[in-house]
């Protein structure tokens, strides 16, 4: 219980800290995105680029993360995470729905976050 309270407090403060920053046109962000193979890479990056305002998206299989550069005036990291989750890949912010995960190709059935 104590841990949950701390986690919520931390999350709250970090959100308010972000809110105080000026919106950057070239915001760098790295978020955890689960995936396996080259097919996953294409799918994840394609999903990221489908969000308007994403300038650069580079997913690394070995680190299981995506390096993003976004225009914060046009989108947020969460928007990108949602788009990635929608094509079946769990992110640290948004998890994919089970039915979207099931639709992935056999070799893309990564270990869920």
């Amino acid at each position: 219980m104590k841990n949950i309270v701390i986690a919520i407090l931390v999350a709250f403060f970090s959100i308010s800290a972000v809110a105080q920053e000026k919106k950057s046109k070239n915001k760098k962000a790295e978020i955890k995105v689960a995936g396996n193979c080259e097919m996953c890479e294409k799918r994840i990056e394609k999903a990221a680029f489908s969000v308007k305002g994403v300038k650069s998206a580079d997913w690394h299989a070995d680190h299981q993360d995506i390096h993003l550069i976004i225009d914060e005036n046009k989108c947020s990291v969460e928007d990108v995470a949602k788009a990635i989750a929608k094509v079946g890949h769990d992110t640290e912010i948004v998890k994919a729905k089970d039915e979207d995960y099931e639709r992935l190709h056999g070799c893309c059935n990564y270990e869920r976050l």
């Binding site: 394609k46 300038k55 650069s56 550069i69």
Partner: protein
């Protein structure tokens, strides 16, 4: 179950008395059987493995009681066996697998499946296959580039791509055009092979960024970077024809940001060889000193990188009759001889800046100053050229909305001052100043999957070529796995330096004449050509071995060309504007396979149809084989702990018959056949690496000892009117062996 085991036990114990049999099953947490789990008695070597149903049975020696069950990716379990009851062993999966290293030998030449242009990269490994010596010789193991045989007088090995000679290839050092204008004939031999880190060969039109001059392709070479270089490198080479080369590199890193390398090169050939007994040296004698000091400044945090190159080169060559002495015989008819002395000074700088917040956005600024001075005579013909040039290129790279859409744009400026004097059957000063300014824009689209394109255009103003636009387009598509189709189309335009590019013709008694007078370049018009190309690569496994098939078809179609006609008359060279058709069609099929680990085989067939409309009719290009066959076999042993390794390399080149220039009007004794015979040339090299810092190599060129014997027409009277040493279709020296060593301090 119990009954069964009891029965089995009874049966077995009756056969092998006192031996107990332990049976069991190995499964994972989901109760799925595990095939091939290892089951052994602890501290023993006796064990077994589970079958496809996870079952195992093992004899229990009296002295052991603990079973170890292990399976890759699962935690090892130990179980004390106290009875003969059947065991069910549940193994837990290990979540963090130990890192697995998958080693794959890097290919010496890489063909990309994802780059838009048809570019292949020759790495250091490929460059080492031909130990000797300079850039023009580096291509002998690459089927896309044909290396011509050096003629006796210039000793120069000209390269060809898609059936067209090097003037139609844009040759750049780190994207700054380097071999051009006055340096066209010898330029590649002024770059020692050990300086080169890698070579990128682009077939077809290529990018617009480096200029408008490329027609059949682009060759870019990267020089070793001081920041990753080793403190000391030494290469010594000696060959049977008394050619000696010495290369030393000294590297010093002043800080993590500033580093420098000093490259020193010297080569010499002293002894006079005449293996085909024609009274002429087979290779020029001479010496070269070549010094490059390269500085690199790197600040990765702030995004800056900068290079400064300072270079000086002096090259002296002497050729001609064996007993020619320049002190007494120069420009006389005592004996026929030639000297070519070249001095080159170069200062260049490149600076790049990558925006730290936006890694996809960058600036580049390149500047280069070059002075290339050649003083030469060939018998009684004299040729002097001094080119002073300045080149500047400013580039900006960025994206449009996201990194799927990239662009490069910029402006460049070129200034070339030529002091050129030709003294042959006429004495004329062709000195001139050329300058040009241009702007370019190149857009790259990549769908991150199976399609990309590069569309570029540039607009230039040139005081002799006029104002013109150069469009280029490249498309790449991956139709299925491990395959790529590429298409390209582009236009090129250039000023032909007719004398500098055809210097070998000075070593003849031919009269020179330029038939046009209204053009701005020696009276001629600029050369214009379109290049169209189609290429297909498929990588696949053939019986489990990685293989690759490459098919290329390229067409170069000249709208105008500065035609060099040596067929109209054997006593003349005519230069005139193209009137009619001139084209070069080339087809190449290449297959490579890794036969067993470390044994690679590569083979290629090449077909060239190169024709030009001469004043006397449409003819195949002379001294160009229509059919060529290439094979390369390379083997290397596994690298041992201290780096010891053997490397073997064998290259086979077969050239079909080549049309010889027309000599039918000569007296019969000075006539050549219509076609040169087909022949094959074989090269081989063995390298022994003793440690990661020391290796030695020996090799042979033309080990089949093929010789062209009639390399020089009227060699017995070089001042007679039929003398010609430019009709070289094959090697004149015969077999040649060499040896050398490389030493490094890391």
């Amino acid at each position: 179950m119990y009954k069964k085991i009891a029965l089995v036990l009874f049966f077995i114990s009756s056969v092998a008395s006192a031996q107990e049999i332990i049976k069991g099953i190995v499964v994972d947490e989901k109760k799925q059987p595990l095939l091939g789990a290892n089951i052994i008695w602890q501290k023993s070597t006796s064990g077994t493995t589970s079958d496809e149903k996870g079952n195992f049975s093992i004899e229990k020696p009296a002295e052991f009681s603990i079973l170890e069950i292990s399976y890759e990716g699962f935690e090892t379990q130990k179980i004390e066996v106290t009875s003969t009851e059947s065991l069910t062993i549940i193994l837990k999966e290990v979540n963090n697998l130990k890192e697995v290293t998958i080693s794959k030998t890097k290919r010496s030449t890489e063909h990309s499946l994802y780059k838009v242009t048809n570019v292949q990269t020759m790495g250091q490994k490929e460059l080492l296959k031909a130990a000797c010596c300079n850039l023009s010789e580096s291509f002998s193991t690459n089927p896309s580039i044909d290396v011509n045989f050096s003629d006796a007088v210039t000793g120069n090995k000209q390269i060809k791509m898609l059936g067209l000679t090097s003037p139609y290839i844009l040759i750049a050092e780190e994207n700054i055009p380097s071999v051009r204008g006055a340096s066209q004939a010898y330029g590649l031999s002024f770059v020692p092979g050990t300086w080169v880190e890698s070579i990128q060969i682009t077939k077809g039109a290529g990018s617009v960024i480096n200029g408008y001059e490329s027609i059949s392709g682009q060759i870019n070479y990267e020089v070793l970077k001081p920041v990753n270089d080793i403190p000391f490198f030494l290469n010594v080479y000696g060959s049977q024809d008394s050619r000696y080369e010495l290369n030393t590199h000294f590297n010093h890193k002043y800080s993590d940001k500033l580093s420098t390398t000093l490259f020193l090169h010297g080569n010499t050939r002293q002894s006079r060889n005449d293996m085909n007994d024609d009274g002429f040296l087979d290779n020029p004698i001479g010496k070269q000193v070549n010094i490059l000091n390269r500085w690199q400044y790197n600040d990765t945090e702030k995004g800056w990188v900068s290079f400064l190159n300072l270079r000086y080169m002096n090259d002296e060559k002497q050729a001609g009759e064996v007993d020619f002495n320049p002190d007494t015989d120069k420009l006389t008819t005592n004996a026929w001889g030639s000297e070519v002395n070249t001095e080159k000074i170069e200062i260049s700088n490149k600076t790049g800046y990558v925006f730290p917040e936006m890694p996809y956005q960058s600036f580049g600024f390149q500047n280069s100053f070059q002075s290339h001075k050649q003083e030469s005579y060939f018998g009684l013909n004299q040729y002097n050229i001094h080119q002073t040039s300045f080149y500047s290129n400013l580039l900006f790279n960025s994206i449009i909305s996201n990194t799927k859409n990239k662009f490069t744009t910029g402006i460049n400026f070129a200034y070339d001052k030529y002091d050129e004097v030709v003294n042959v059957n006429f004495d004329q000063d062709f000195s001139r100043i050329d300058n040009s300014v241009g702007a370019f824009f190149e857009y790259t689209f990549d769908n991150l999957n199976n399609f990309s394109l590069v569309a570029g255009a540039r607009a230039d103003y040139h005081n002799r070529l006029g104002t013109f636009v150069t469009p280029r387009l490249h498309i790449r598509y991956n139709p299925w796995e491990q395959a790529v189709i590429r298409a390209s189309i582009g236009r090129g335009k250039r000023a032909a330096n007719i004398f500098a590019e055809n210097q070998q013709l000075f070593a003849s008694s031919r009269d020179f004449s330029i038939l046009n007078s209204d053009g701005k370049l020696y009276g001629l018009n600029p050369e214009i050509a379109w290049n169209y190309g189609l290429s297909f690569i498929q990588k696949f496994k053939l019986l489990g071995m990685s293989s690759e098939v490459i098919l290329d078809y390229y067409v170069t179609d000249f709208q105008n060309q500065a035609v060099v006609d040596i067929d109209a008359n054997a006593q003349q060279v005519l230069f005139y504007n193209l009137d009619g058709k001139s084209f070069a069609n080339s087809f190449q099929a290449e297959f490579s396979i890794e036969l067993i680990k470390h044994l690679n085989f590569k083979t290629a067939y090449k077909y060239y149809d190169v024709q030009t409309q001469f004043s006397t009719g449409q003819l195949q290009k002379a001294l160009q084989a229509k059919h060529r066959f290439f094979g390369n076999l390379s083997f290397e042993t596994h690298i041992k702990d201290k780096g010891q390794q053997w490397k073997f390399d064998f290259t086979y080149n077969w050239l079909g018959e080549q049309r010889l220039p027309n000599t039918s009007m000569n007296p019969t004794v000075y006539q050549l056949a219509d076609y040169a015979p087909a022949f094959a040339v074989m090269n081989t090299q063995i390298t022994r690496t003793f440690s990661s810092t020391f290796e030695m190599y020996i090799g042979g060129e033309n080990i089949g000892n093929y010789k062209q014997n009639n390399g020089i027409v009227q060699n017995e009277n070089p001042f007679g009117s039929y003398f010609d040493s430019s009709m070289i279709y094959g090697p004149t020296f015969g077999a040649m062996y060499y040896a050398g060593l490389r030493f490094k301090i890391k």
